[in-house]
């Protein structure tokens, strides 16, 4: 099904940037369009509006620091009773835990995107291998 430009969508703009603060992103959105609802949050902003407007505004915000600002669509609009903690008696909203974990990885991903853009060659990564059962058995037997 093709995307309808008039659909009302919500996008999460998550900042992993050292130079752009949530308020900078919010100001950029405020000065862009009038038909858009935004909500500032600790991790960035939520932008709601018609698909065409939201995509345009999000593009402008991402341009502030393109490798360190990340975007995904959100199912529920901001303040929806089924998700908003004000109406659910407090606590973190479902889905926030995973995003919080991913937000912690954004500096790593942003740095890697910078390197990819510069054309730096990929590094070989040596991963720690899990110990074999026989090795563990040897260690146990050698200490007993």
């Amino acid at each position: 099904m093709p995307d309808n430009e008039d659909d009302v969508i919500t996008k999460l703009v998550v900042l992993g940037s050292d130079s752009v603060l949530p308020i900078d992103a919010a100001l950029k959105i405020y000065e862009s369009k009038t038909g858009i609802v935004i909500k500032e949050t600790c991790f960035g902003t939520m932008v709601t509006g018609s698909r065409a407007d939201v995509n345009q505004v999000v593009k402008e915000v991402v341009a502030l620091d393109k490798n360190h600002i990340f975007v995904k669509e959100r199912g529920f609009p901001p303040g929806d009773d089924r998700r908003c903690r004000a109406s659910r008696g407090g606590g973190t909203r479902p889905g926030f835990y995973f995003m919080q974990e991913e937000a912690g990885m954004l500096p790593i991903i942003g740095k890697a995107l910078d390197n990819y853009e510069k054309g730096l060659p990929a590094k070989e990564v040596e991963r720690k291998k899990r110990m074999k059962v026989s090795q563990l058995k040897d260690i146990i037997e050698s200490t007993s």
């Binding site: 975007v71 199912g75 889905g95 995973f98 974990e101 990885m105 990564v125 991963r127």
Partner: protein, 151 residues
């Protein structure tokens, strides 16, 4: 532009990277949005109607818990629709709509079973792993039909 299914299906990083490199991510959020925005589907705190477990029967047997079938009613059509896939394991957390281990197993199996171009890797833990993670995803996405350079 290829339709790329991502696993975890609600991942911010994967959804962003797929879109960044010129493809369409097939993610849980868009499907949930369709449910939330559809008039008549409004049963807080759930957005699954009685029809969903029936639709899920295409992907999971009747003795499988209704929660799995309900989730598969949303995830299954995404897998059917996909032209490529990225599976990232060692997920630090999988709460919310990703919180069902059996659904996750079945989703990964169905993606692998489709025989579409597939990239499998782990979530990064440090800078070097992060670089490898991004480079592999970028190269994979660029190798897909109509893959665009980073905008």
């Amino acid at each position: 532009m290829a339709k790329v299914i991502i696993y975890p299906t609600n991942s911010l990083i994967l959804s962003d990277l797929v879109e960044r490199f010129g493809h369409k991510p097939l993610a849980m959020m868009e499907k949930i949005k369709e449910k939330v925005a559809t008039v008549g589907v409004d049963s807080p705190p759930l957005n699954i109607t009685a029809e969903e477990p029936k639709n899920g029967l295409k992907y999971a047997a009747v003795e499988v818990p209704a929660g799995v079938r309900g989730r598969m009613a949303i995830v299954g059509p995404m897998v059917d629709d996909a032209e490529a896939g990225i599976i990232v394991s060692e997920s630090p957390m999988a709460f919310g709509c990703m919180g069902c281990a059996r659904t996750n197993e079945l989703t990964k199996f169905l993606i692998r079973d489709r025989g579409i171009p597939l990239l499998e890797l782990d979530f990064p833990k440090d800078d070097d792993e992060g670089q490898e993670f991004v480079y592999k995803i970028a190269d994979f996405l660029k190798s897909l039909p109509d893959g665009e350079a980073e905008a």
